[in-house]
């Protein structure tokens, strides 16, 4: 028997593709958030609201992942921005190769943002780097406020947590303060935004967050050939 030390990440191939994607997106000045939540937390509606109300001169493209159907792509295509559906055919998450394939033929130079809507799932998407700038995790008030403690891997990797459906707070038992406390237990410094995609509360803060983060990522980007 021969023992061979391997010491290799299981998802090293995914990470290699994600790294290339990230470099490509950064080089083209595209800001890319990866939206993760359980099914029904409001990912697609948040994207619809963003496509409908963001300043019109901003150029956005969307990749939306689902196990089956192109319903989300149809919903999102109404806003006049390029949208592609990734149908995983059973897989519970997107991986970097699916994103790489879906981007084929798109002129990244002509984009400011690439939104990736992951498959609705709080477990598996957290393992797969898609080359995004940030993972944005959405938790809605119709879920339990202990979700961050039940799915710490996902919440700990979030660059932003959006607490959605705050318009329903008077009608549900969701404890907003406790939810925030739980988010901070697994991710002490993460920003948290309170939003209702139905009433529009908090959306201005969300747009401002996106613009701020994109501006920061452009500043951090090395400029080649500049005098």
């Amino acid at each position: 028997m021969t023992r061979v030390e391997v010491q290799q990440k299981v998802l090293s191939e995914n990470e290699r593709i994600a790294k290339t994607l990230r470099e490509t997106l950064v080089a083209h000045g595209v800001y890319c958030p990866n939206f993760i939540s359980s099914p029904g937390a409001g990912k697609t509606l948040l994207l619809e609201r963003t496509l409908a109300l963001f300043p019109r001169d901003v150029r956005i493209a969307v990749l939306t992942g689902d196990i089956q159907t192109d319903n989300d792509a149809q919903r999102l295509a109404r806003y006049g921005f390029p949208v592609r559906q990734i149908t995983t055919g059973g897989a519970c998450h997107l991986d970097a190769r699916m994103v790489e394939r879906a981007l084929d033929g798109w002129q990244l130079d002509s984009l400011d943002y690439l939104f990736i809507e992951n498959v609705g799932n709080l477990v598996c998407p957290s393992s797969y780097d898609l080359g995004e700038n940030n993972k944005i995790v959405i938790l809605s008030t119709t879920e339990g406020e202990d979700k961050p403690l039940k799915y710490p891997a996902t919440f700990s990797r979030a660059g932003l947590v959006i607490l959605n459906k705050v318009d329903l707070l008077p009608y549900v038992t969701f404890d907003l303060a406790l939810a925030k406390e739980n988010v901070r237990k697994v991710n002490p410094n993460v920003e948290i935004l309170e939003v209702s995609c139905t009433t529009g509360v908090g959306l201005d803060a969300w747009y401002a967050w996106l613009e701020r983060r994109r501006a920061a990522s452009l500043q951090a980007k090395p400029v080649f050939g500049a005098i």
Binding site: T2, V4, K9, V10, L11, A91, C124, S127, P152
Partner: protein
């Protein structure tokens, strides 16, 4: 439940490694899996069994899993401690801010090959 894709990725990595050694038969795969890796060790074992059931040559490799608990390290005094109830304060020097040390691993640690 993405353990099937994880198991497939493991087998690809292992196959590539075994090829470097003349395609010797793999008898054991050693994995390192963190508590916060998002992968359930038992579900992963089940997937290896399911994948091996489709093997024609039989004799699936044994799977050894080194499960790594979520641990933090204190930058002030160097203490490494297991996180209980998400409490990140250093139990030794009471420093408030400590850094993740282990628990995110998802790695192939080693393989064992049959002697040629």
């Amino acid at each position: 439940m993405h353990e099937m894709s994880i198991a497939t990725s493991v087998l690809e990595a292992v196959e590539a490694e075994a090829d470097k050694h003349g395609g010797a038969k793999v008898t054991k795969i050693g994995l390192r899996i963190g508590e916060w890796s998002g992968v359930d060790p038992e579900a992963l074992r089940f997937c290896f069994e399911a994948l091996a059931a489709g093997n024609q040559d039989g004799g699936a490799p044994a799977i050894e899993i080194d499960f790594r608990p979520r641990q933090n390290r204190c930058p002030s005094c160097g203490t490494v401690f297991a996180l209980k109830d998400f409490e990140i304060q250093c139990p030794q020097c009471r420093a408030e801010v400590t850094e993740p040390f282990s628990g995110n691993e998802l790695e192939v640690a080693f393989i064992e090959l049959e002697e040629p």
